[in-house]
Point group: C2
Chain length 338, copies 2
DNA sequence: TTGAAAGCGCTAACAA
DNA sequence: TTGTTAGCGCTTTCAA
C-alpha cells in the first residue's frame, strides 16, 4: 500500500512529527543529521504526502480553483484569449507548489460548492462578466480569496486584474481618426455600465472628444464569435453605407467581420478598415493581417496568481485592482479611407 | 465554521451514518421520512461534504487528473486541437460527479507525484508522444486507471483513444492523387515507428500503393507550429521545385506553410495545393480556406472519459483502444495541378 | 530538538 | 432501518 509518514518515522526511528517537519521544510526544529537521514529514506521509499490528509488536518489545501463559465451542462467556454491564461495560471501555481482544480460553472450555487467541497484556498474567476461576478461571489464563503480576471467590479470580495481597456480603445480610435476616418462603427457585445466592454466604449468615445469630434451613434451589437462577426460583416455596408471603419472589441469578432465584408464584395482595408482587440496568434494568420490592440496575457495571468497567493499566504488585504498596459499593433487591416 | 455531517446528524437527531447514507444516495438503507427530513436540513444549512475527508476515508477521491506536457518549468502546451478536448473532458467529468485536476508535467516523476498526492482515481494523458507515454506510466502506481489520448502505445497500463489517423492520411493523399497531383510533399514532425504521425505516414503511402504509384521520398520535417510551417513554406519551392502539393500533419502547420508560400510569391492552390489535418475553427478563417481532415474532437473526449470512468467504477479491465472516424473537408486550398 | 495525544470530516464493516 | 467502532494520513498543540 501507500507509504505513509508513519512508515518513514518507523524506519528512521523517530516520531511522525519529526518527519513531518522535515518534509515541510521546518528545518529549524530538527538536527541536521536527522534531516539528512529522513530525506534519504523519503527518497528511497518514494514517499509522497497525502494532500487530502494534509488538507483535512491543516488549515490549507494548497488547491486553487479555476472557475470558468460553462453554459448549462455544456462544455467549458474557453475563448482563444483565455486559453493562454489557463496555461499560465497552471504554471504559476505549480511553481508556487499549488495544484489547480479546473471547474466549469453552470449555476451560481456551484461556486460555493466547488470552494467548499475541496476546501479551496482560493479561486480565479475567468471569463465571467462583471454582473455575474457579483452574483457568483455573493454566496461565496468568507475565508477563500477570490480573484477575477478582466473584472471592473467594485466587489470587495474579489480583486481584479485586467488590461487597460479604456486606453486600448482610445489608441484604436485615435489610430483610425489619424488615418482620416470619421464614420467608425463600434462593434461588440451589449454592455452595462461596468465591465470590459463599457471601458472600451468609453475610451473609444474619448478619442473622438479629444479630437474635437462628435461620434454619431454607430453602435452595433454582436457576440464575441466568428459567426456573429461574419453575419455582421455581411450586412454592415448596407446598414451603415457611409462607414469607412469598424472597431471590434475582440479579434475573433473582427476576423468574422472581415470575412463577412469579403463575402459581400468589400475589400479590407481599401473599402473598410477593421481593427480588433486581443492580438491573438490567429490575427496574424488571416488575410489581411489584423491591426489590433495587444494585451500582455502571460503577465496578466502571472500577476493574477501573485496577487491571489499573496492574499492567501500573507493574509494581506485584497489589493486594489491592477491594470496592465496595452499597445497598438499596426498590421494590414487598416488604411486611410478612400 | 464549516457545517459537518455531525452538525446535520445532531440537528436531525440521528447518527452520522444515516446522514452519510442519505447524502450519498444509499436510500435503501434509510426510511423515506428520515430521508426527507435530512435532505431538508442539508439544504437549509448549506451542507457540502468535504472531499478531502471523503477521499481519506473511502477508497475513491472522485478526482481525475488531466496531465499535459509542460516543457520544463514552462507554461502548459495546449495546442488549439487540445483546447476543445480539455473543455469536453471537464464537462463529461462534471456530469459524472467528478472533479478535474489540471497539471503540467515537466518530468516523468511528476506523474506519480500528481497521482499519489491527491489519490487520483485516474488520469488522462493529453498531448504526449507515444514514446513519452511509456516512460511516464512506467513509474505510475498500479491502482489508478490511465488513459492516453491520441496514443498508439501498446502499453497495457493505458487505454488509448485516437482518431483514425491512417485513414485520414489515406483520404488526404487519395484526394490529392485524384486531383492529378503526383509530386506530393509530406510535412510533419519527425516520427518513430509508432504513434500518430507514423500512422498518417503509413496511410499516406498506402494511397500511392493502391493507385499503383510509387511515392518518391519527399518527406519534410517540421514542428507542429505556425512559425515552423511558415519557414518551411518559404523554402519549399526551392527545395522541391517539382512539387505541386503538400500534405501537412496538422492544420496549424499547413496554415504556416500557406503563409510561407505566399510570401515567396507562390499562390495556393493554383501553384501548390495544401492539405491539413484537424479541422480547427481557424482553418475556415484563413485565405484560402484550408482543405483538411476533420476529427470528431468532442466525441474523442467524451469517449475518453467514458472509458476511464468505466474502468474506475466497474473495475472493468482496460478496454482495447478505440479509433474514431475522420472525414475529408474539401475547401479552397486544393485544386488540380496546372 | 523531539515526542504524545487529539482530532480534522468522513466511511467501511459490523452490530443491534 | 439505524447506530457504533475504528480508522484514513496528517498537523496542531502542548509537554518533555
Amino acid at each position: 500500500m501507500r507509504v505513509t509518514l508513519k512508515d518513514i518515522a518507523d524506519e528512521a526511528g523517530v516520531s511522525m512529527m519529526t518527519v513531518s517537519n522535515v518534509v515541510n521544510g521546518k528545518r529549524a526544529r530538527v538536527s541536521p543529521e536527522t534531516i539528512e537521514r529522513i530525506q534519504r529514506i523519503v527518497a528511497e521509499r518514494g514517499y509522497v504526502p497525502s494532500a487530502s490528509a494534509r488538507s483535512l488536518a491543516a488549515k490549507s489545501s494548497r488547491l486553487i480553483g479555476l472557475l470558468v463559465p460553462a453554459a448549462d451542462e455544456d462544455s467549458l467556454m474557453i475563448s482563444p484569449h483565455n486559453v493562454a491564461i489557463v496555461g499560465q495560471i497552471e504554471r504559476e501555481l505549480r511553481k508556487g507548489g499549488y495544484h489547480l482544480l479546473l471547474r466549469g460553472i453552470a449555476a451560481p450555487a456551484e461556486v460555493a460548492e466547488a470552494l467548499q467541497s475541496w476546501s479551496l484556498d482560493g479561486a480565479v474567476l475567468l471569463g465571467f462578466l462583471d454582473e455575474e461576478i457579483d452574483r457568483l461571489t455573493a454566496r461565496a464563503v468568507g475565508k477563500v480569496s477570490l480573484l477575477a480576471i478582466d473584472s471592473y467590479s467594485a466587489n470587495p470580495l474579489t480583486t481584479g486584474v485586467r488590461s487597460d481597456d479604456y486606453t486600448g480603445a482610445l489608441l484604436a480610435a485615435r489610430h483610425l481618426l489619424e488615418l482620416g476616418h470619421r464614420e467608425i462603427v463600434f462593434a461588440g457585445p451589449s454592455f452595462s455600465d461596468v465591465g470590459v466592454v463599457h471601458e472600451r466604449f468609453a475610451g473609444f468615445q474619448a478619442a473622438f472628444a479629444e479630437a474635437g469630434l462628435s461620434w454619431r451613434e454607430r453602435l452595433v451589437s454582436a457576440n464575441t464569435t466568428h459567426a456573429s462577426g461574419r453575419e455582421l460583416g455581411r450586412r454592415l455596408m448596407s446598414s451603415h453605407p457611409s462607414a469607412t471603419a469598424v472597431f471590434a472589441t475582440a479579434d475573433i469578432l473582427a476576423i468574422g467581420i472581415m470575412e463577412g465584408l469579403a463575402e459581400t464584395g468589400f475589400s479590407v482595408p481599401s473599402d473598410v478598415s477593421v481593427l480588433g482587440f486581443d492580438d491573438l496568434d490567429l490575427s496574424a494568420y488571416v488575410t489581411p493581417k489584423l491591426t489590433t490592440i495587444a494585451q500582455d496575457i502571460p503577465r496578466k495571468a502571472a500577476i493574477a496568481v501573485q496577487l491571489l497567493l499573496g492574499t492567501i499566504e500573507g493574509k494581506e488585504h485584497p489589493v486594489d485592482p491592477i491594470t496592465l498596459e496595452v499597445r497598438l499593433i499596426e498590421r494590414a487591416s487598416t488604411a486611410a479611407p478612400r
